[in-house]
């Protein structure tokens, strides 16, 4: 698919450029900024900060699981609060916010050749509403009764009854309010990302020339705009049940000998709403990772991504299919079991486009010129963990196999591998890759390699053996693993081992944070295009790019994003804004 526009065939600009609103003061430049790049850094910093809280919560959980009975302050109540907040923060406030709010804001305008997002003011608001959502969430740690301990799935009735921490206190109210705020904030940002990709592309940047990073973030955003409303209404309905005594999700219940004033509601309705959001959410996190990792592999293997068009269609197919698989989270929920046939089939069909993406990443390495840079190492590690986690998904998606494994540690191991470890490895690779553009300096190489090896091997050693605890039948979400007949002495040892690995991996993240801060001043000067990459963000006149991104003239795009090692070309990369054919040109297939 050689697709080069001759220099004289570039269409004229459709609309004249408008002057951006430039900041006049320090406050409007760095705090209430309308520059997508500043907003991206704000999003990323906030997400990282709250992510650290979630990391520490995971340590507390692992203390309890690895060394049961040793730490008196970890009561079952506290344990459930830790797992709930850990899960919710990691999935929503860290991964979603970082991929879309962080990488989306930074990369979309730069990669499509726009000066900024199309609605800069709304974009700014999006961040501040997100920050408010995070603050409301954090406030629940200090509220009477503490945060909710309903599990990140927040299933009613238990989410709002007194047997669950925070159920009849402030915890659940603050959690639901925070989610509602998050969704409002996200919608503002999300509309921006979608409109910018559709309307803000520079001349020559056709959709089929977009870097896969943009395709991934764009599709994920469209999905999020369609999926989050389901969570939004579920949160509102549960708030009404909790505060006004409605019965959307609440049937007649006798709790602790007490007849509650609810009647006729359906707890399983909440599960459908939750997972109608919750399953696409997995891909909202995964698709940006798919896109980014494609670009990392292509750039660092100095080779075009293999099967670009197939990659784009696979992203779209996965995005569409992920809306018809939600009930595979509910095989043993008590829904009509005949649904299992449909949802198992759709779920396993998703494996096909997903597998194609994996093949194409690996085939991009084939006959490449592989530079084992830190971003490339993280990309390789991503493939290992994603394939591993994806394949165990074939167990859980295959309805009858799910019956013994659901609600066990197998599920915990699976989803951490596939939507925890794998996307976070991509995030790390992406940060090592784009940090030089954001700051103008490289991250420290030695610290980076240390961070890579400990994180990759440690995470694999945590989650691979954990599957086998689930195969034994050990349930998840157990604050106490004592008095359980199937729990052997050796399984306790394995749990202790997993906990120790978790502390080590956590420590490596502190080294990474240190590197992020230290390298701002002390890193090696990067120059404008240290990786010799083709996409537009590396072609800006200044590094870091100034407000408006591209100086006087917007770039014009003549080719796709993957012209690496083109036969006949002098360099092994041709930036998208460089005109002219090189070597034997092949017709588009």
């Amino acid at each position: 698919m050689v697709d080069v526009t001759p220099a004289d065939a570039v269409p004229p600009a459709e609309v004249a450029e408008m002057e951006l609103y430039h900041p006049h003061s320090w406050w409007t430049k760095y705090v209430f900024s309308q520059d997508a790049k500043v907003i991206a850094v704000q999003y990323s910093a906030t997400a990282t900060a709250i992510g650290l809280v979630a990391l520490m919560l995971s340590w507390l959980m692992r203390l309890q699981l690895g060394f049961p009975g040793t730490f008196d302050f970890i009561t079952p109540e506290a344990y459930y609060q830790f797992i709930t907040m850990h899960g919710m923060i990691m999935v929503i406030y860290l991964l979603t916010a970082l991929f879309l709010g962080g990488f989306g804001n930074y990369l979309i305008p730069l990669m499509v050749g726009a000066r900024d997002m199309v609605f800069p003011y709304v974009n700014m608001l999006s961040y501040w509403v997100y920050l408010l959502a995070v603050l409301v969430l954090v406030s629940s740690f200090f509220a009477p009764g503490g945060p909710t301990g309903a599990g990140w799935t927040l299933y009613p009735p238990q989410a709002i009854t007194s047997g669950t921490p925070g159920g009849q206190d402030w915890g659940i109210i603050l959690m639901l309010s925070s989610l509602i705020l998050f969704i409002i904030g996200f919608t503002m940002g999300g509309l921006n990302y979608v409109v910018t990709v559709l309307q803000g592309r520079t001349r020559g940047m056709t959709l089929m020339r977009l870097p896969l990073t943009v395709w991934g973030i764009f599709t994920a955003t469209v999905m999020a705009l369609l999926a989050f409303p389901a969570l939004f209404v579920a949160c509102v309905m549960m708030l009404l049940d909790r505060l006004l005594g409605t019965s959307f999700f609440m049937p007649a219940i006798v709790e602790m000998g007490q007849q509650l004033q609810h009647n006729g509601g359906s707890p399983i309705l909440f599960q459908h709403l939750f997972w109608f959001f919750g399953h696409p959410e997995v891909y909202i996190v995964a698709l940006p990772a798919f896109g980014i990792v494609s670009d990392l592999i292509s750039t660092h293997a100095r080779k075009n991504i293999f099967g670009y068009r197939m990659m784009v269609w696979a992203i779209i197919a996965i995005g569409a299919l992920s809306f018809v698989v939600w009930a595979h989270h509910m095989y043993v929920s008590g829904m009509n079991p005949y649904f299992g046939f449909f949802f198992a089939t759709t779920t396993l069909i998703i494996a096909v486009p997903t597998a194609i993406k994996v093949y194409n990443w690996v085939l991009t390495l084939w006959r490449g010129d592989i530079h084992l840079t830190i971003p490339m190492l993280f990309a390789l590690a991503f493939i290992v963990t994603f394939v591993n986690g994806g394949l165990t998904g074939l167990f859980l998606g295959n309805v009858v196999v799910d019956v013994p494994l659901s609600d066990t540690m197998f599920v915990v191991a699976h989803f951490h591998m596939v939507m925890g470890v794998a996307p976070i490895l991509v995030i790390f690779g992406a940060i090592y890759h784009w940090y030089p553009k954001v700051t103008g300096r490289m991250l420290n190489e030695t610290l980076g390699r240390f961070h890579f090896w400990v994180t990759f091997l440690g995470a694999y050693l945590i989650f691979f053996p954990m599957h086998y605890l689930g195969l034994m039948g050990i349930p998840r979400r157990y604050a106490e693993l004592t008095d359980m007949n199937i729990m052997t002495e050796s399984a306790h040892h394995l749990n202790s081992f997993i906990s120790i690995m978790a502390f080590i991996v956590g420590f490596a993240q502190m080294v990474f944070l240190f590197n992020l801060i230290w390298s701002i001043r002390h890193g090696r000067e990067a120059g404008g295009n240290p990786w010799r990459a083709t996409t537009l963000e590396w072609q800006t006149p200044e590094t870091p790019p100034a407000h408006g991104n591209f100086g006087k003239e917007l770039p014009i795009v003549y080719r796709w994003a993957y012209d690496y090692s083109v036969p006949g070309a002098k360099e092994d990369f041709i930036p998208q804004n460089v005109p002219g054919s090189f070597g034997p040109s092949r017709e588009p297939a």
Binding site: Q158, A252, I253, I268, G340, H371, G473, P475, R477
Partner: protein
């Protein structure tokens, strides 16, 4: 180059771990060895794919690592290869799905001779109800649950009078007889889970859910709750004992019916299981006669 070695070690290590580690499923005690077999098929197919992808990747990194003067090939697409890979993947997925759906249809279709039993979950204990001589469970309603009628059995329903009530005590089942487990909760979501039986299902207040199985060996099995149900969740244990037919009937003979429990009593209440087990020492035949007389 360390990464090449590590990738190979990950494959070798994972396979060895799978084969040699002591962590494996508990010996099965139900008819759902079909499920175990499906898991084994899944391990084979996914294991081969995992090893193939990671080893191929290791080879690529080794063979095509950057050396001075190297240049990558330029090959944007290869329709033939992409189609073949897609077909192979679809075949693999089908090989997983077809046996899976076949077993699932067994799982959802309860055999006609399965005996109904009811499991009632509440924070944080298990209770059970057996249909009695008429083979029918009486209707129930959470809204009439009280200290005297903890399972909410509707007193006006004649089918419910002979129902055997096992409140917060062990359930016994006869070996080799299929049972349809009807699941009910009076407060929040729970999940009736016995690892050795492989099957599990959530219980939802306001609904009755089900699954079925046939216990295949006698023994004592621990019941776990597999759906987070509040802070007592990890302590919500119960016991199911699979007995020979004879032992089962002996146990059944000691249980009380709903009618007996709701009859006025001098001491104790229906809430204290220890007392009611002591109170009844009728043998099965005598008990059945009494029931018939009512």
């Amino acid at each position: 180059m360390a990464i090449v070695l590590v990738l190979v070690l990950i494959v070798v290590g994972s396979v060895l771990f799978h084969l040699l580690s002591p962590w494996w499923w508990t010996p099965i005690a139900s008819n759902w060895d079909y499920i175990d077999n499906t898991i084994i098929i899944s391990f084979w197919i996914t294991g081969i794919v995992f090893a193939a992808v990671v080893l191929f990747m290791a080879y690529c990194v080794f063979r095509f690592r950057h050396r001075e003067g190297n240049r990558a090939a330029y090959e944007p697409e290869n329709k033939r290869l992409e189609s073949w890979l897609m077909i192979a993947t679809a075949a693999g997925v089908t090989a997983l799905l077809v046996p899976g759906l076949f077993v699932w249809s067994r799982f959802v279709n309860v055999p006609g001779d399965a005996a109904d039993i009811e499991v009632i979950g509440q924070q944080w204990q298990w209770s059970f109800r057996l249909p009695g001589k008429d083979g029918k469970l009486g209707t129930s309603d959470t809204r009439i649950v009280s200290a005297e009628n903890p399972l909410g059995i509707v007193p006006g329903d004649p089918n419910g009078q002979d129902d055997v009530v096992v409140e917060a005590a062990d359930l016994h089942l006869p070996v080799g007889k299929p049972v349809k487990v009807l699941l009910r909760s009076i407060d929040v979501l729970h999940d009736f889970y016995i690892p050795e039986f492989r099957a599990k299902m959530d219980m939802i207040p306001g609904s009755v859910t089900y699954f079925w199985f046939t216990p295949t060996r006698t023994g004592t099995f621990q019941v776990l709750c597999a759906e987070l149900c509040g802070q007592g969740h990890p302590l919500m244990h119960g016991v199911v004992m699979v007995d020979t037919e004879q032992d089962y009937l002996a146990w059944l003979g000691q249980q009380q019916t709903f009618a007996q429990l709701s009859a006025p009593k001098q001491t104790g209440s229906a809430n204290q299981p220890s007392e009611k087990t002591i109170a009844s020492s009728l043998d099965v035949a005598a008990k059945l006669e009494t029931l018939e007389a009512r």
